[in-house]
């Protein structure tokens, strides 16, 4: 026991609590219960330890010890690789795949959250050592709030208006509103699709949103999330029954065609609205210097 024991224990504890807080399992069921979670709690513990130890190391003028943080960075990059590989493998067996963009987004989040844990542990231990335990508690609450702020990205409902439209056929072509989805040749299939299918139109609220929802990965994420939450009328060997999202080239609206097991318009709208906008899909054309001049983009 020395003067650093309690601050270190405190910092590690706060770090692990932060990781647990950020590790909520929701409808996506990822990470899976227990085993998947244990991996991330263990890594969170390591991250918390690294963040905590950095403070006494500085105070003891052991500056070389800080290089450990570089080790941490490569360690957590591996976490991202691990998540990406696992999800990519599993994605082949999904009825409606997540898509690479969504997977990359999830993998980035797992890496990023470990750094948030390091940060929280670091400032908590620092505050404890410089002032007292109460300062440490306040610092850890601030750390948690910062972590929560970074954890929650924007949702689709922030950037698009969602409208329900009954899908219909023009000849063999399936349409949602005026957006062509696909060609279905067999009348029996067409009936099935009209019976189970639902159509939605996503109308971008601004020019930036238009590019974001045009991203194929973002569209696949929507289809995956809706199919997870409402079920999907589909099996292997029925490629005709596939949820699709297509774009109206004229105005950037996106037509979503889904085949849910539970046909509830309000629920489906809420679910589409809650789909995260993927970090890797967000584009900001209005931030371009060229676009700031002249005619305003809509």
């Amino acid at each position: 026991m020395n003067e650093y024991t309690f601050p270190i224990l405190f910092g590690v504890f706060v770090g692990v609590v932060t990781r647990l807080y950020l590790l909520k399992t929701d409808y996506r069921q990822y990470p899976t219960y227990l085993h998947g979670k244990i991996i991330h709690i263990a890594l969170g513990f390591i991250a918390a330890g690294l963040g905590t130890i950095a403070v006494p190391a500085i105070m003891e003028k052991e500056f070389a010890a800080i290089t450990f943080l570089a080790l941490a960075a490569s360690q957590f990059r591996d976490v991202r690789n691990m998540e990406r590989n696992t999800l990519n493998e599993l994605d082949q067996y999904e009825l409606v795949p997540r898509g690479k963009t969504y997977i990359e987004g999830i993998a980035i989040v797992f890496e990023g959250r470990n750094y948030l844990v390091i940060f929280t542990s670091f400032i908590s231990t620092l505050a404890y050592l410089v002032w007292n335990i109460w300062a440490g508690v306040i610092a850890s609450i601030i750390g948690l709030l910062v972590a929560r702020k970074f954890m929650s990205g924007s949702r689709l409902k922030d950037i698009v208006d969602i409208e329900y439209v009954e899908p219909h056929f023009k000849g063999a072509g399936l349409y949602v509103d005026n957006i062509y989805i696909m060609n279905i040749g067999l009348p029996a299939r067409q009936k099935e699709i009209l019976r189970y299918g639902m159509g939605f139109i996503l109308k971008p609220k601004n020019f930036n949103a238009r590019s974001t929802i045009a991203n194929l990965g973002q569209r696949q994420a929507i289809l995956h999330d809706v199919s997870t939450a409402l079920g999907v009328y589909r099996d292997s060997g029925t490629p005709a029954l596939v949820p699709l999202a297509k774009r109206d080239l004229d105005d950037g609206r996106v037509g979503i065609f889904i085949l849910p097991q539970e046909k509830d318009i309000e629920k489906a709208k809420a679910i589409i609205g809650n789909v995260p906008t993927l970090e890797n899909a967000i584009r900001m054309p209005t931030e371009s210097e060229a676009n700031k001049k002249g005619r305003k983009l809509r």
Binding site: A172, G185, L186, R189, S236, T238, P239, A240
Partner: protein
């Protein structure tokens, strides 16, 4: 060589208009054409697309 999309079969009631590499199934009636296309769709894991009233193709996507 891998193909992104591939016509696996052609089902038609009018063989005069068809020629080429994919297997061609000629049928007498529209009903027969649809039955065969339904079976082929299930067997080949493809989607039956209608190009006209007398022509269906099964495509692997």
């Amino acid at each position: 060589m891998t193909h992104e999309k591939l016509i696996l079969a052609v089902i038609t009631t009018n063989p005069n208009k068809i020629a080429g590499g994919a297997p061609i199934f000629t049928c007498g009636t529209r009903e027969e054409m649809e039955t065969i296309a339904t079976n082929l769709e299930a067997i080949l894991d493809g989607i039956a697309h209608a190009l006209s009233d007398e022509l269906l193709i099964v495509v692997k996507h």
